[in-house]
Amino acid sequence: MPDTIPGSLRAYLHGLPGVDEVGVQRRAAGLATRSIKTTAKRQAIDLAIRMVDLTTLEGADTPGKVRALAAKAVRPDPADPSVPSVAALCVYPDMISTAARALAGTGVGLASVATGFPAGRTSLEVKLSDTATAVEAGASEIDMVIDRGAFLAGDYAKVFDEIVAVKEQCGEAHLKVILETGELVTYDNVRRASWLALHAGADFIKTSTGKVTPAATLPVTLVMLEAVRDYQAATGRQAGVKPAGGIRTTKDAIRYLVLVKEIAGDDWLDPAWFRLGASTLLNDLLMQRTKLGTGQYSGPDYYTID
């Protein structure tokens, strides 16, 4: 059920406190200097692995590619059974049935992008049927895109209603709402879009499709973490955050975890509430994990390319 917002949506969203760009960037840069070593690094790497939404969203995706990635999602390092599974596999709708078969019984989630991903420039009917197809095929999580055009044109009600409709179509599936922050540009817009999506019923808010530059950044994620923190304080409902795109190294991932810890708090340090949308990140996490275990640096040839 979407929240009821008294008065006009525009007045509400524009009444949110502003975000000072320089201030938020300095805060993010300051947190990026946190030094995560030894036990903390070990904890962070395993947590990050468990938060990965292992993603392939290419025109060239094939059943073979998706099956290989599913295997990797379940057991990221075949040589080391102590490595946890990732949170979910994230694919296009037409790959869901393949992925569902590969993941059956593993506990790894299955996410599908939908609603005319990545541009979202189709009718609501198409978006809803896209969503319905994905859910029917077995997706447990839907990553929808918002109508950035409508948002930037100030038609907040259209964006809101679309999210509400998609959420309804999701049924039991969790809804992640992609804001595509690289197209919203300002932090004020990111904050407004975050609250709009949360009030419309989003289970997660997600930064990016990965198809637009810039994708996820630390300050954008910081603003979104503030939104879910404050939204919970205001409504009692907890929602998650998913930065996606451009997160490639263990160092990147750990910086996001530091943000989660210090902005939203320890309650969000859980795959149920924070995800990292990534493809190549996983191998770097595995390499760093090995380094911590053995004390020796590892190399890419020792990890599978899927």
């Binding site: 000072d20 201030g23 946190r34 030094s35 030894t38 903390a40 947590l47």
Partner: protein, 475 residues
């Protein structure tokens, strides 16, 4: 099981080698003091002695001024500005090369977190020398004259030891003066490391002289008849004494003294950034900052929303080992300063304000004080009027912009102020009415060598930084 807790991440202190004892730096050499008094510099984080330095006596100070006078007349002032500048560029580069070592040394001697010495103090020190180096051959373009004053007597505080040295030494040398500098009693070590850097740079002997010591040495330095210029950063009380001592002489004087900065938060502020600004305004460097935003003036209509956010943010501050890279709040610099902070905090409670601190554990040894926020403070309370120079914030409320400005200005000090609003015209209205030398709007505690810094009223006179920073050293 712990999900994700930061492990200790100490910076190695092996990078710095501290001698067991240091002599005075006079005429390009480390020379034994004639005075036999010594001062022990301790690490405020564990109270262990770091080194022993000389307490220069009158005869030592005489020697230093004689060397500075000689160097001024024979070497430094006749040297073409371009060549003086090159020495300063050299010094800037050596500081950059030895930045980590100096950062560790500063954290050990001062107690401030390595995060700050590494990311704030040292970069600014190098930048300051780099900035003024470029002025040395351009004095004719300043509109302030080109003649140096002579020998500058400089006394600096313990809160930013090496940075305050840079603020004093770089413009003095660029303008063609020579200096006799006295670092603070509790933080002499980076100044002595700077002496080594002067040697490494090949700076002509006598251009920079460093005499360590306590108050007596400082008095001897500022009242020395060979001083043409006195520059002091420190407490307003000592500043007053110096101003009296200099009265009736030909010595030029600049003073950078205390403050009781107001940080004004309007109800339309970018709240999350304002919270950050309040925190950095008062907890940066344990609040040992003359321009600290030690009075939070928050518009009553937003106080109830802001204060819980502020407390939640303060809960996250990590207090402890200054050398740990994740430490946000380090040690109080000295037992004496800790006693002063405790006394004023106790006065706050006694006068009826309500103190709050996060439940962070304090290390067993060393000098520590929890970040503290007082609410229910009125203008009449001592904690709203006196400079605490520690991590203690006094919160007051206001209703209208007029009231905010009136309260902000209602102090004999006038060094810094902050304004938080998303409305540009209100920011400019407020900034133009604040009687303070530095106004940070939608930010706080940022510094730059190109940006003049200094106070109104009893916060002192003269500016450091920028073109105007040369005014103090040209005649």
């Amino acid at each position: 099981m712990e999900i994700f807790e930061y492990a200790p991440a100490p910076e190695s202190r092996a990078i710095v080698s501290i001698r067991p004892s240091y002599d005075l730096f006079i005429d390009g050499e480390f020379v034994a003091a004639e005075s036999d008094r010594r001062i022990v510099s301790v690490n405020p984080a564990d109270e262990e002695p770091l080194s022993e330095v000389a307490a220069a006596g009158d005869a030592d100070v005489d020697r230093a001024f004689a060397a500075a006078r000689r160097a001024f007349e024979r070497v430094w002032s006749p040297l073409p500005g371009a060549e003086r500048g090159k020495y300063l560029f050299r010094i800037a580069r050596i500081i950059q090369e030895r930045a980590r070592e100096l950062a560790v040394l500063e954290s050990l001697d001062n107690g401030k977190p390595i995060k700050e010495t590494r990311d704030v103090d040292l970069p600014l020190v190098a930048q300051h020398f780099f900035y003024y180096a470029g002025w040395a051959d351009k004095l004719a373009h300043t509109g302030l004259g080109t003649r140096p004053l002579g020998v500058a007597a400089q006394v600096i505080p313990w809160n930013f030891p090496l940075l305050m040295l840079a603020w004093k030494v770089a413009p003095a040398l660029a303008a063609g003066n020579t200096v006799v500098l006295k670092p603070a009693e509790t933080t002499p070590l980076t100044a002595l490391a700077f002496a080594e850097i002067c040697q490494e740079a090949g700076l002509p002997p006598g251009v920079v002289n460093i005499v360590t010591g306590a108050g007596d040495t400082g008095r001897a330095v500022v009242s020395h008849p060979e001083a043409d210029k006195v520059a002091f950063t420190g407490s307003t009380e000592v500043g007053r004494q110096i101003a009296r001592a200099v009265a009736g002489t030909r010595k030029r004087l600049t003073l950078e003294l205390g403050g009781k900065g107001a940080n004004i938060v309007y109800d339309d502020a970018a709240v999350d950034q304002a919270v950050e600004g309040i925190v950095s305004g008062i907890f940066f460097n344990q609040g040992h900052v003359c321009c600290a935003g030690s009075r939070l003036l928050v518009q009553e209509s937003i106080a109830e929303e802001l204060l819980p956010r502020l407390r939640a943010r303060i809960e996250l501050l990590r207090l402890g080992d200054p050398l740990d890279k994740n430490t946000d709040i380090g040690a109080i610099n000295s037992a004496a300063q800790l006693a002063r902070i405790r006394e004023l905090a106790a006065a706050g409670e006694a006068e009826g304000a309500t103190g709050w601190s996060p439940a962070c554990p304090l290390p067993e040894r060393g000098y520590w004080f929890r970040p503290t926020v007082f609410t229910g403070v009125t203008q009449a309370h001592r904690i709203a009027r006196e400079e605490i120079f520690g991590p203690v914030l006094s919160v007051l409320t206001f209703r209208t912009p007029e009231e905010a400005v009136a309260k902000a200005n209602n102090t004999p000090y006038g060094l810094s102020a902050g304004v938080w609003t998303e409305k540009g015209s209100l920011m400019l209205w407020t900034a133009s009415r604040l009687r303070a030398g530095v106004v940070w709007s939608n930010t706080f505690n940022v510094f730059d060598p190109a940006s003049p810094f200094g106070g109104y009223k009893e916060s002192g006179y003269g500016r450091e930084g920028g073109l105007l920073g040369l005014e103090a050293y040209l005649g």
